[in-house]
């Protein structure tokens, strides 16, 4: 398939124009990748905050359970 694609390709010039075209498309790719990386760091922060919230809820459930158990003990 790659051979067929390359056969259909207009001869890719290896002269002066090639590096400039490659640079322009790479700049675009780099910007998109940087953006995705920033979005990923935000996702990590959201996951961390979600973990903190889960911890708060777990702690609260544990406290309620302990308080319920203490009330149930006969004096």
């Amino acid at each position: 398939m790659i051979a067929a694609l390359l056969a259909a390709t207009p001869a890719l010039p290896l002269d002066d124009a090639g590096p400039y075209v490659a640079a322009a498309y790479l700049v675009f790719l780099a910007l998109i990748l940087i953006y995705v990386a920033i979005m990923a760091s935000k996702l990590v922060r959201i996951a961390r905050e979600l973990g903190e919230l889960t911890e708060i809820v777990d702690r609260r459930d544990r406290d309620e359970l302990e308080a319920g158990a203490e009330e149930a003990v006969p004096r």
């Binding site: 124009a17 090639g18 322009a24 675009f28 996702l43 919230l53």
Partner: protein
């Protein structure tokens, strides 16, 4: 609210952008005048058009915020302008590379198209610092909306002024003759434009969804902290809207 349709949009972005790049390198012929370097056109021009449309969209959301007072519109306006700025950077860099290869200069200060785009870009570069400088969220949203509307109105005016000015080196693409593009070049250009436009919308939706998730988490954290009667950390100052 913002995440609806994100999956099909993401798939459409990948298909269109990959399809456009495939057309650029395997279908569109080399330009008779510029040769292979003209391939930058299929990236540079759609980026510029979408960036300018993003700036105008920011202004339209600004109008909607001022009319309804709905914070979601302010968030949409902020995200549209933020992404249009990123696309603007890509436009300037790809344009400079093309200029260097074609004209032998990275930048031409006497070319109206280049300078006018730079002016619009620099105008919008003030948007984020402006937002950051205002602490009160209500005032921040209102001022940012007024800025987005005023600057958004400047974009088409600027476009018209550039069309009327005499171009020295920069070609006119969107002319009545369609830039005299042959059919295969025009098809490639349209697919590339659609790809970049859908990519812009998809990235907007990603950012909106991410910001909404952050806001909801923060609100939940605050509620839980209040319930526990514990001190919660106040939200840090930010240029982005902090609540819906």
């Amino acid at each position: 609210m913002f995440s609806r349709g994100l999956k099909p949009l993401s798939i459409a972005s990948v298909v269109l952008v990959v399809g456009a790049f495939a057309l650029v390198f395997f279908y569109a012929p080399n330009d008779a005048d510029q040769g292979f370097i003209q391939k930058i056109f299929y990236l540079h021009v759609p980026l510029a058009i979408v960036a300018l449309c993003g700036f105008v969209a920011g202004g339209v959301w600004g109008i909607r915020y001022l009319r309804d007072g709905d914070r979601a519109h302010d968030l949409r306006s902020y995200v549209a302008i933020h992404l249009a700025l990123i696309f603007g950077v890509a436009t300037l860099v790809t344009g400079s590379i093309w200029a260097k290869a074609s004209w032998g200069h990275w930048w031409l200060w006497d070319e109206p198209t280049l300078v006018s785009f730079l002016i619009v870009f620099l105008l919008y570069a003030c948007y984020t610092p402006l937002r950051f400088s205002i602490e009160d969220p209500e005032k921040q949203a209102r001022t940012a909306s007024v800025f987005a509307i005023t600057a958004g109105a400047f974009v088409p005016l600027n476009f018209l002024a550039v069309r009327m000015a005499e171009s020295l080196a920069h070609p006119r693409v969107l002319s009545e003759t369609g830039g005299s593009m042959p059919g295969d070049m025009r098809l490639t250009f349209i697919v590339a434009l659609a790809g970049i436009a859908v990519l812009f919308v998809t990235l907007c939706k990603y950012e909106l969804t991410s910001k909404q998730a952050s806001m909801q988490l923060r609100a939940l954290k605050r509620r839980l902290a209040d319930d526990e009667d514990a001190a919660w950390t106040p939200t840090r100052r930010s240029a982005a809207p902090q609540q819906l």
